[in-house]
Structures are given as C-alpha cells and as structure tokens.
C-alpha cells in the first residue's frame, strides 16, 4: 500500500530529535573514552617509538589471546555443530526445556559460571571433595583450575549456545524438501550436505565463528577467575597494568590494540550479516523436525541431551548444592571436619567479619548491585526506546546510526572501564566520587541488546493501528500510551530485564569503576573467591547462588514473554 510520504518528510528532523539523546550519550560516554585510549597509546608510541620492549609488551598477551581464542573456537564448533544439527532436525521429548537451557549462558554472569565450575571441579568442589573422602586422598585428584583447560571449558560453556542458536537456527530454516529433491536427483547424503546444506549454512557458520572468536578474544572474568594469574590475555594484562601496577600508559597501549582487533572483528561480523544473501524464512518446526527413528539417531539425541545437561546444568547445580554444604574444617576447630547441610554461608552474608571500613557486609553488595541495575534499566530503556523509535522510522540517518549503536557490543568491558578511568578523573565526574558511572557503563553494554529487542517490536506494529486510534479520536500522546506502549510492553519488559541482568553480572568494567566501599555482587564474589578459607569460599558460592537465582528467574520471565521476531544478535 501507499506509505505516507509527508510523514517521511516530517520524520527527518523529528528523527534527529529522537537521535539527540542517544548520540550525546554515546559521544560523551563511549567515543570520548575510546578516543582518550587511542590518544594515550599514541603518546606511548611517539615517546618510546615501536621499540622491542614496547613490542614485547604487546606481543606476549596478544599472541596468547589469539591462541586461546582460536583453540576455544575450534573446540566450541566441534561440540556445537553436532548439537546444532540434532537440535534443528529432530523432535524429541524435553526439547523445549533444552531450548531454555541454551539461553542460560547468554544471561548467566561470568562470575557465577566461574564459581559454578569451581564448585563442580575446583579443589574444594564436590567432585574432588567426594574423591578425597572416598579414597582418603591428601590432595584433590582433579587439578583443572588455573589451567588452559579450565579456560577452554568455560568458553565452550558460553559459546556452544551461540553455535546452536545461529547455525542451528539457520539449519531449522532449511527446507527439507530441498534435500529430498537433491536425493531424488541422485545425490548421496554427504553430497547433499556438501552441495546444498553447507553452502546455505556457510554465512551463518561464518557469522558464528566470528562471534565466538570475538567473545573468546574479549573474555575477561573467565580467564581471571579460572585461568589464574599466569594466563594473561590482553584483557587481563590491561587490568593488571592499570589496577595493580598503576601503569596507565601501557594499559592504554594494550587497550588500543584490543580495540583495533575488536572493531575489525565487529565490522567483519556486520559485513557478513549484511551479506547473508540467501534469505531463509522461518518454517514450521513440524515440517523440518523429524521423529527419532533409527538406533543411531536415538544415540545422537541421548548424547546431545546428556552432554547439554553436563555442560549447562551440572556446574550450576553444583554451585547451589555446594553453597549449602559444609565439607571443611570449621572455624577454630582445626582438624575437625564437619560435613553436612548448612545455612552458615548465607547467614555470614549479613556480617562484616573484618570490621573494616572497606569491607562492607556482603549483603550490601547485593543492595548496591540492585540499585545500580535499576538505574541501568532506566538509562538503557530511555535511550534504547528513543533509538529504536528513531530506527523504525525509515530515514537516511539509519544507515549511519545503526552500526554506531551496535559498536559497544564489540567493545570489551575492560577497554570501556579503562577509557572511563582515563577520561573521568576529575570532579564533578570522577570515577572515585561519581558512582553513577557504573550504571552508565552497564547501560552502554546493554544498549545494543535493548535496541535490537525493541526495534523489531516497534516495526511490527502496523501503521493502521495508530491511524485507526487517531481516527477514533486519540491524540498522538494517547496513541502512544494506549496502542504502542501496551503492544510493546512485553518487549520493553524483556529488554528491561535483560539490561537488569547485564548490570547485575557485569564484571569487567565494574572492576575499574567500583570503589572498595561500594562493591557489586560480582566484585564481592571475586574478592571472596580469591581469598583463602572455607568461609570465604562458601560465601562466594552463596552470593553466586543468589545471583544465579535472580538471573535464572529473569530468563524464565523473558522466555514466558515469548517475543516474536526478536533477532538473536
């Protein structure tokens, strides 16, 4: 039908008004820190030149970053591709539940996952504890923490779901009749995959590879918490240089290197996404999925379900169980090992054992986190709504603004945190005295997701709804309030919850911005995990469990909302 051209003409400057706040926000809190980082790196480069010492500072962490990312990506695909296939093509009991499982890594904070693996396989984890007590060993038999394997394991946990969603999603959209046609034309099953399925899946596979690589490349908390100090990726090295050695110039240099790589990867990703030539249309699952018929298929599905449960559920369940379990010597009773169910770790959360000014009771961290998360939700929703409304008006601005809005997605949190430190170092906006910077950084991270959730929802509202309401006597403001808002409500709620969980779990940027007396839960968990003692360990697990439950509830609500047409990324 004929779209109103007058509306388009008017929309041009109105859209600019809508863009104003998001643009100002990004300029001030995203581009300014980024520029400061590059400026710092430039100064280091021009003062010292590209000497071997400078080169070495960069090369060691960079080469390790690339190495672990390549390795992680390969393993992730070895695990993820078969899962994606089985997931897309078979119908079996419990599939809906597994679909929810797959969303867990998207929303589960890194510290929780690290704590989970720790509770599962760590030296004080229940597998080791069980083995020690059964075989009466002096040492934990499984030594996986602080090895490369631990890092890889966590990366596989996180990114398998990316492969399942992106590649499996595309696989589920391939018309099985194409395969049948190819078979009837004389192609063997392998030829069908080689000539039909693979070429059609290639863009999705490529997109998934880049995305997984990007996530592995920028992962921070996982490396810090599971790899230990000897594994320094660029992210960890930036953190050490900036916060432990107080060497901001070197941190800036590394951060600039990191930025160049991530921006290139992000650009590559959006380029691939734009060039997905063959548009795959959603299909009725009944058409694509087939029931399990042969024993081999049954084995595959059972294998999938089992490995998904082990990968996604066991670490988290271990965390919960271990947080209620006392397995170590009790305070003041050296040698006496009491084992049994306990609430002690949770009760301890309300007590400031150290009586120190800087160590607040852990429960305060929860309070801080909730407050920061609520502020994040407000900032991200207001800016995200403005940007999404502007994007859904088809003006020339979109081509420029859409990629700019997505940039923070590819920028690592540590880089962002460092940028904030470099720029906001004097009153009134000072990292040390202006705690609002924490939710601002969180909102930057959440903004792309918020926009990507809201925009399709806004576009999906037919213009005739608004016109009908207007003809029936609703003023523009009432049209928004009575039509747009209620229809968008679920999308707004979902993106709000998403921003909330992003903020609750954010670790990288927060390590740079939080003050000792105002820790968030992830920061507190990290502190407790990196200190010795059963009580600290137990408290870390207890806090992780609380965080996990909140995030789990969020996933549950978002899943219940059942948003149509929301893109994965």
């Amino acid at each position: 039908m004929i779209k109103s051209p007058s509306w388009k003409a008017k929309g041009s400057w109105k859209s600019l008004l809508l863009w104003l706040a998001p643009i100002l926000f990004l300029t001030f809190f995203y581009f300014q820190p980024l520029l400061a980082t590059f400026k710092m790196a430039w100064q280091v480069g021009s003062n010292q030149g590209l000497t071997t010492s400078v080169f070495n500072k960069i090369w060691a962490p960079l080469s390790f970053t690339i190495w672990q990312a390549v390795l992680s990506t390969i393993i992730t695909f070895l695990v993820g591709l078969p899962m994606a296939y089985v997931f897309a093509r078979f119908r079996f009991a419990g599939k809906a539940f597994l679909k929810v499982l797959v969303t867990i890594p998207f929303i589960m904070p890194t510290v929780v996952v690290a704590a989970g693996f720790n509770a599962f396989l760590g030296p004080k984890g229940w597998v080791n504890s069980l083995l020690i007590s059964v075989f009466d060993l002096g040492q934990p038999p499984i030594q996986i923490l602080n090895t490369l394997a631990a890092i890889l394991l966590a990366h596989v946990f996180y990114n398998t779901s990316v492969v399942i969603r992106v590649v499996g999603g595309a696989w589920a959209k391939l018309d099985p009749k194409m395969e049948q046609a190819a078979r009837s034309l004389g192609a063997s099953p392998w030829k069908v995959f080689q000539r039909i399925n693979f070429p059609l899946l290639r863009p999705s596979i490529l997109a998934a590879i880049l995305l997984v690589f990007l996530f592995d490349f920028t992962s921070f908390a996982v490396i810090l918490l599971m790899g230990g100090p000897q594994f320094a990726t660029l992210e960890v090295e930036i953190y050490i240089q900036a916060l432990h050695l107080l060497n901001l110039p070197t941190a800036g240099l590394l951060s600039a290197v990191q930025l160049v790589f991530t921006l290139l990867l992000t650009a590559g990703y959006s380029l691939i996404n734009r060039r997905r030539v063959v548009r795959l249309t959603p299909r009725d699952p009944d058409e694509v999925e087939k029931p399990i018929q042969t024993a081999g298929q049954k084995m595959m599905v059972v294998g999938l379900v089992f490995s998904m449960l082990v990968l996604f559920v066991l670490p988290l369940i271990s965390l919960v169980f271990r947080s209620f379990l006392r397995l170590d010597a009790v305070r003041g009773e050296r040698g006496m090992v009491q084992s049994g169910v306990t609430l002690a770790y949770y009760q301890e959360l309300f007590i400031n054992r150290r009586q120190s000014l800087f160590y607040v009771p852990p429960i305060d961290a929860l309070k801080n986190s909730l407050v920061f998360a609520l502020i994040t939700v407000v900032i991200a929703l207001v800016l995200g709504l403005l940007a999404a409304i502007a994007l859904s008006r088809k003006t020339n601005w979109n081509r420029l603004m859409d990629p700019i809005l997505m940039l923070p997605l590819g920028t690592s949190a540590v880089t962002l945190g460092l940028g904030f430190i470099l720029v906001f170092n004097r009153p009134p906006i000072d990292v040390r005295s202006f705690p609002l910077l924490i939710p601002i950084a969180h909102a930057l991270v959440a903004l792309p997701f918020v926009v990507r959730t809201l925009q399709p929802a806004i576009v999906s509202i037919p213009e005739t709804y608004r016109q009908s309401a207007a003809v029936l006597g609703a003023s523009p403001w009432r049209v928004w309030w009575l039509i747009d808002y209620p229809i968008l409500f679920r999308a707004i709620l979902a993106s709000g919850i998403f921003a909330f969980t992003v903020s609750l779990g954010e670790f990288g940027a927060t390590t740079f911005l939080s003050r000792p007396d105002l820790p968030t839960i992830p920061i507190a968990i990290y502190r407790y995990l990196s200190q010795p003692g059963a009580l600290n360990y137990g408290q870390a697990l207890a806090m992780s469990t609380i965080l996990m439950v909140i995030c789990g509830l969020s996933i549950y609500i978002v899943e219940k909302l059942r948003l149509p047409d929301v893109n994965d990324f």
Binding site: M1, I2, S4, P5, S6, P462, T464, Y465, Q467, S468, A469, A470, V471, L472, G473, A474, S475, P476, R478, V479, L482, I483, P486, I487
Partner: protein
C-alpha cells in the same frame, strides 16, 4: 455535509490525484470505485486527515478542515486489514472511540454492546480479537467505527480481504447496517458488484480524475465512455460514426445499427462514438429479416449457464463479441444475430 474541492496529490513525484471534487450529503452512501492505484484510498486518507494533499480543500458543513488533526475530525475510518488492536478485547476495541470522547465506563460499555448487537457480534464481546475469523473481525471493525457515531464513515475496501461467499453475505449485512445508521458514508472499492450493492451513488475514479458520477442504474445504463464500460465488464465495444440523430443510427465496421438515444449528450451526425453492445442484446435469426442490427458471426465457443447460453463469436475484422442467447448453437457454425436496440448504447468518443 462533506465537500471535497479540487484535491491534487503527488506520489513519488507522479501526479496521483488531479483535481478531484465531490460532495457527500447526509445519509447517503457514496462508493468510490476504481482500479488499484487510481488514488481512491489516498483520497480517503486525505479526507480523514491521515495524509495531506498538495492542494485543494476538504470542508465539513462549509468549514475548512485544514489544520484539524485526525483525532479531532470525528470521522470514522475502517481499514482493509481492520487494524483491530490486538492487545484489547472485542468490547475494548469497540469502546475505544467512546473512551476517547471521555464517556464513562458504564455508558460506553452499553453503547459498545449495542454496536456489537447491530453487527450480530453481541456474544463475542469478551473475546480477544486475535481469536476471531476474518468475517468476525470485519464485523467488529465495523462496530468499532460506528460506535462513536461519527459524522462521516469511511470504509477502505472493507471486504477486500475476504473470500467470495463470505463477501457476498457481508455485503448484504453491510448494506442493511449502513441504511439503518444513516451516517453519510464513503465506501472505497475496486469491485463493481460491491459498489452496486452498497452505493446510493457511484463515483468512478481513473488516473486521478473522476470519470463518472451517478446512481448505480445511471452508471450501468449509460456508461460515460469506453473506460467505464470496460471497467463494468462490458467488453463488446465497437468504434463507429453517427449517421442519423433522431432515432439514432450508428455506422460501424460490423454494419449500421439503430441504437437507444443517449441520456445526456446529443448525437451530431458525423461525430465519432463507441457502440456498446450488451450481451443480452443478441437474438438468433434464421433468415435475413432486417436491414439494420443484423450481422453474421462465426461461433467459437458456447457455454451453458443455466438461464442462458453464453456464446463467444467472431464477426468481421476478427472482432470478438461475448453474447447471451436462449438456445444452444454448434461451435464452428456460422449464424445470424440480431441486436435489440434497447441494449445498444452509444458512448462518447
């Protein structure tokens, strides 16, 4: 009373409406009839205030509506896709306009209920609109437009999304409802059957201009030109010249014909006209018993329709004619056809 004055509108730098003027009086239903792309929907949206025109005026009782926003015009508008609000129940949809008027809850519920009764959707009040079938949605959309008792009702292809049987049924219902309410109505459609069933008056729009205006009977009996005739599905059109003015005779390539005198224009001898032969004009003759109105044709097809036979014949110059006759003929036969003059009309140009 609605007055539309000299409306011009461009779409993508092409003129879409080229000076359209008409009026809608109290209680009458006007059908805007035209092919898709003729600008009829755009015209409706301009009247509603959803779109603006390049020039021209829309007046209500003599008052220019320029600057009056959509929501203050007190017009009703029903979209082809109905645009029912998916987050509201049937009742809430229908009472939306009343709520906008600031009416209290009790009163608007009662009014919405009676609007639903009017379209036989009373029992559906508490349903969600997403649960309704196409025909039910159409009825609810109509009730929603009627409930606030608009000064003018506009319907944009209201039956366009429905299948044939349902459309015929709803067409009758719509006709009755519109007669009952007496709200002046503009009904946009490309379907002549709908227009003839529902309209008190037809306005035919072609290439951004009004081609003909009049009651269904006027339009059908005296199509203004060959475009109107073709649009009405009358395809037997033959070019000719006027030979005689009184008891008019027209000379064509098929022969000369005595025709029905036209309603509103004179047939000056020598002037070019188009002869419209209606299918029911045909009568089979065995012998050449008339000098005029009689032609020889070759039968290409014959289909039994129940009440009559539709035959497709070829006359001289390979001219194809579709005719209705009362008795069967053989395909491949050559027959004599006589045309009754009351079914022969002259069109301008």
């Amino acid at each position: 009373m609605l007055t539309v004055e000299n409306i011009y509108k461009d779409y993508e730098n092409q003129p879409l409406l080229k000076g359209v003027s008409f009026e809608v009086k109290g209680g009458e239903t006007v059908c805007l009839l035209g092919r898709s792309g003729s600008g009829k929907s755009t015209l409706l949206r301009i009247i509603a205030g959803i779109e603006s025109s390049k020039s021209g005026r829309v007046l209500w009782n003599g008052k220019d509506l320029q600057g009056v926003p959509v929501h203050q015009r007190q017009f009703g508008f029903m979209f082809q896709d109905y645009a029912l609000f998916p987050h509201l129940s049937v009742l809430e949809n229908v009472s939306f306009g009343l709520k906008m008027q600031g009416m209290g809850k009790e009163e608007r519920t009662a009014r919405a209920h009676s609007a639903l009764e009017q379209v036989n959707m009373g029992p559906f009040a508490q349903r969600w609109v997403t649960e309704l079938s196409g025909g039910e949605q159409q009825r609810v959309a109509l009730a929603r437009s009627l409930a606030p008792q608009p000064r003018l009702l506009m319907l944009d292809e209201p039956l366009g999304a429905l299948d044939r049987t349902l459309r015929e049924q709803l067409m009758q219902e719509l006709r009755e409802v519109l007669h009952q309410t007496q709200i002046p109505t503009i009904y946009v459609t490309h379907d002549q059957e709908e227009a003839f069933t529902i309209g008190d008056r037809l306005i035919l729009l072609n290439q951004g201009k009004i081609v003909q205006e009049g009651s269904p009977q006027q339009v059908y009996d005296f199509p203004k030109n060959s475009w109107v005739a073709a649009f009405l599905g009358l395809t037997n059109l033959v070019k000719g010249t006027v030979v005689e003015e009184k008891s008019p005779v027209v000379e064509t390539a098929l022969g000369s014909f005595v025709v029905k005198p036209p309603l509103d224009f004179a047939l000056a001898p020598g002037s070019p006209v188009t002869l419209l032969i209606r299918p029911q004009a045909a009568e089979i003759r065995k012998t050449i018993d008339a000098e005029q109105n009689l032609i020889t044709v070759f039968v290409k097809d014959c289909v039994y329709l129940g009440a009559a036979y539709r035959i497709q014949v070829e006359a001289q110059n390979q001219m194809q004619l579709d005719l209705l006759v009362s008795q069967p003929v053989e395909i491949g036969e050559t027959i004599l056809i006589y045309f009754k003059k009351e079914y022969l009309t002259c069109l301008e140009g």
